[in-house]
Amino acid sequence: MSDLHALLDHATDGIESPRLEQVALRTAHRRRTRRRGAAAATVASTLVAVVALVGSQTSGGRSDSMPPAMPPGLTPTVTPPTPSTPALEATASWDPRDVDDLSGAPARVVPALPDVIDPPSSSPLLADEPVGSAVVAVEERGTAQVLGPDGEWRTVPLDGRYPRIALSPGGTRLAVYYYVDTEDPDHTYDVTVHDLATGGSTVLEPPPGFVPWDDTGWSFLDEDLLLLTSGPASYAVSLSSGATEPRPYRAGLSRTVDPDGEVLVSSDWSEPNVLLDYAGGAPREVSMARTGRLARIVADDDTVVGTSYENGPFAVYVADRATLTPRATLPVVDTDGNYSNWALGPQALLADGTVLLRVAALGRGRATGFRLVLWEPGTGDLSVVSSSDLPVEASVVFASGLLRS
């Protein structure tokens, strides 16, 4: 087969350069413009200092007790706005306790999602009736269920305590693993990956030398490649072969995988205040001074969305991926610290630049499920896409790629 190269070369020697460079540049420009254009409407014509937006709470601290204290010496420098980075106009704060007063989002904004996420008490076994893919999976009381594209649920039995689940971006795989159970002497850190198209499953093991940490967990880089993270170590594990290889991703405050399978990590409080962007090879460090340290990040080609309270009141930030210059913010009333701690964060960044927020419904003094809220960063409009009354103990995960599409 040593002449295979020559044969492949000969078989394609008539293909000319497609001359796509200008088309690509224009398309890239349009995508940037589309995402920034709406946000630009909110940019003040005269510069309004970011520090004005973040207000006096930077020095005064928060009245609630929930945010963790930053280590000494890590207080970020507030970057003053420059003519090339116009600051954002102050935006009215939103009180998410009123989430149920929001109107419904335009129909079909996320076609794959049902209006209500409400798995039945029982459903056919996935192994008996595969569904192809699922946009959402729910783990509750020791059973996992996935929602197929036809609106039908399927059950994936679980056989251990403290189960964790993850859906692949395309929704064709469900990973199931278990948090360490000190009462189970046979506990393993294996993961079982269920194929939603066939109903079959594959068990993958951590690599030799693997050291478990409290945060050991499995997720997906794409449909065929899993990511095992454990403390400072991470590994890519091939679903088809089980082969593992170390990856350089650091542990952090938040980690996400973009639509191309590239990883971004928001550094933890004990680390320098940078976002690590592993796309394109060597990790690139981007200062988070302008946004504050970002939690619950999601990202696409040129945008990062996350939450922060480091530079001021708790807010959701939409920022340029290359520089983390904020394009839009949604300040959030966070009187009791619930929202900054666990009850509000980006779930997905949609293809048109809108953001899907997952917001716990706390309006009646206790959690009554969550709402998926569509936030249009340019106009500030908020609307409810989908809702769930599942208890907070339930684990609900989504297929990020299906949400985007």
């Binding site: 087969m1 002449d3 295979l4 190269h5 020559a6 044969l7 492949l8 070369d9 000969h10 078989a11 394609t12 020697d13 008539g14 293909i15 000319e16 350069s17 497609p18 001359r19 796509l20 460079e21 200008q22 088309v23 690509a24 540049l25 398309t27 890239a28 995508r31 940037r32 192809g132 395309g170 064709t172 880089l221 794409d222 449909e223 065929d224 490649l225 890519a236 091939s238 088809s240 072969s241 082969a243 593992t244 290889e245 191309d260 399978g261 962007d277 796309a279 394109g280 090879g281 060597a282 690139r284 080609d301 040129d302 991926r321 290359a322 790629g401």
Partner: protein
């Protein structure tokens, strides 16, 4: 300035990318779509890719997008393996047809390894980096692909033999 750099880079590599994408897909139109999307993604990240290896990044996008496309449509018709090669892809239509038919008998993963190793001349390490898999996976997929061609596409071997004569 950055646009000029990008334009020069894209002008230099897009023919090679398109030929690879065509070998991956057997469909020239879809290959162009894949290349265009890869170039757009490189353009969006040019500031961070320009000092590295943007061509490797573009290849990765093409391969991954192709596998994603294939997976989304695996229950529907894909390129007809028995169909002819598109006009103009080769100065030798018979070779083009035989190669296309042979490659379409491979799985997408095997085809990706074969094209990266034997057309793009990437090393096993470079191929593993592009595909996001281990070197062992590259080796096994490459062996499986070559074995499948030997048994399933003898006409390809005949062509290689003819080129020696």
């Amino acid at each position: 300035m950055q646009e000029q750099e990008f334009t020069e880079w894209a002008a230099g590599c897009q023919r090679s990318l398109l030929r690879s994408a065509y070998l991956l897909t057997g469909d020239l139109h879809r290959a162009q779509d894949l290349v265009q999307e890869a170039l757009v993604k490189v353009a969006l990240r040019w500031s961070q890719l320009r000092e590295g290896n943007p061509t490797a990044y573009a290849r990765r996008i093409i391969v991954r997008d192709n596998v994603s496309w294939w997976r989304r449509r695996r229950e529907t018709a894909v390129a007809d393996p028995e169909g002819p090669a598109p006009d103009g892809v080769s100065s030798d239509p018979v070779t083009a047809m035989v190669v296309r038919r042979a490659l379409l008998r491979l799985t997408p993963a095997q085809r990706a390894v074969l094209v990266l190793r034997h057309f793009d001349d990437l090393s096993e390490r470079e191929t593993a980096d592009v595909l996001g898999v281990s070197i062992g996976t590259v080796k096994s997929q490459n062996s499986a692909a070559l074995a499948r061609l030997r048994t399933g596409a003898p006409e390809l071997l005949d062509l290689i033999g003819e080129r020696h004569e």
